[in-house]
Subunit: 332 residues, 2 copies
Amino acid sequence: MNTTRARTLCAATLVCALAFATAVAQANDGLPSWNDGPAKAAIVQFVKDVTTEGGKDYVPPAERIAVFDNDGTLWAEQPMYFQLAFALDRVKALAPQHPEWKTKEPFASLLKGDLKGALAGGERALLEIMAVTHTGMTTEEFEKIVKDWLSTAKHPPFKRPYNEVVYQPMLELLAYLRANGFKTFIVSGGGVEFMRAWVEKVYGIPPEQVVGSMGKQKFELRDGKPVLVKLPAVDFVDDKEGKPIGIQKFIGRRPIAAFGNSDGDLQMLQWTAAGAGPRFMGLVHHTDAEREWAYDRKSHVGQLDKALDEAMAKGWTVVDMKRDWKRVFPFE
Amino acid sequence: MNTTRARTLCAATLVCALAFATAVAQANDGLPSWNDGPAKAAIVQFVKDVTTEGGKDYVPPAERIAVFDNDGTLWAEQPMYFQLAFALDRVKALAPQHPEWKTKEPFASLLKGDLKGALAGGERALLEIMAVTHTGMTTEEFEKIVKDWLSTAKHPPFKRPYNEVVYQPMLELLAYLRANGFKTFIVSGGGVEFMRAWVEKVYGIPPEQVVGSMGKQKFELRDGKPVLVKLPAVDFVDDKEGKPIGIQKFIGRRPIAAFGNSDGDLQMLQWTAAGAGPRFMGLVHHTDAEREWAYDRKSHVGQLDKALDEAMAKGWTVVDMKRDWKRVFPFE
């Protein structure tokens, strides 16, 4: 509704004036893409509780740490993890320099467009794909490769750059928490250097507040200039039990709020819940097959089963995408 | 000088008024414990350059990352690394529960007060001492042990709690940089959890801005409550080549300013220096045997040899403790 027109239509009736004031207040609450309902109410109440000075649940700003999973929580993860799409695109781009891939799995299948065949080799096949696409270059070279990919690749159903396929309500939530003195972190199973290349611009989260999986690196002087070379060896996997460990290693302070969307986030939510004082545990439940996707207990990507049971048993907030989100993507 | 008295004495003479204004400006520059000289001038000029909007060396606040070594840079490291003093005190405290230590090295020598004998076993002896004092407990238990130790142990020559044996000029420098929009980080060879227990209170640096060496951890549910258990396995050593790697892993952005005091900081300084735009590389040179200690090229603790050569060759700032610091410790 156009606000000027609304004001004119409503003029001079008290009820209408009140309704208008409420509408404006809602639009100004920092969460305009959230429908009124239990999820939004729980968020707003929690933030009010921890920011009310003198209140029994007040938390000083330095301790207002909020952590967010990325895949399926801040940006989409279907039809495949976006970092896997990046890796597959890189294999294609690098293929001309690797004629041997024509007969070597998992590359041979991949280059024929047979993803299922390529991934039939299981974890080993995946690690081989990650090694050739994510290692062997310097950290600066890798950052440039990721940025170039984001500026050209398009997410298949939405025909948008991958870093536009992010959830508008979650962008608003990040900004809302920061406006209330929170420090927002990503704690994701995704590669930390893959994320750091773009998250500051998209989410307003600086690189030093990104925790993720990572490979080993090597310091070298090349012609007197120091570089860090990415090595084909896994250093840390920031998933499941790895998430609370990643939080402890990289942040060193227990969060008071955590948001995830899958069983990979369960331990992070448990770790957050186990602290003293007010806590907020949230799950994004993908329930909207029309605007996004609907998947949970049986999904291969972003399986949400045990964490959903625990959320229901413990009264954590489950965000029902279809019910709770007025708008899913910024480009809608 | 009492300012009211100075004002009264000076009243009505122009020269005196100017002198008074200068004295006040110096006292208010945020670095009162630094003598005027090349080191302070270089710091002030650098900060002015990167914070002057529209200037050719302007750096946006988000990129104003400053990293500091801890041992010998922010707090003292003589007569032994303070974390080693902590470990030795813990061995003594735990000895009654370990009668077998009476005949087992390195503990037998340690308990007889023979540190040299205990450390004759080299790295393996040191790792054994670290394992029994730093692992086998939860992260929360360890934090409490460190805090309890700091509240009772005294640094031998100064008879002060160890976390008071910190450098007043460096405390001022940290605050000065933060007041100018910098984000200050510790990047130290010391244990990250040992430091995080106290640095926020002492340096104003929150746990999430501390990078250090660390052991592996394990996530466990104990009676349904999640805990992180510290394991006797080294995960990451944040020293020498490890420092730029630690910066990349934990911060993910190259610093524009770095301060160290030993050869263990050389690669961190090289990595900082190799970025584009204005850079500040600083070394604290321990030159004051009267107020603190004097040591450099031949020292077993905090050896400063190659980094001193490179600093001189490349024009990095070398802080001469005797010459540049008006006051060394806050308790003086």
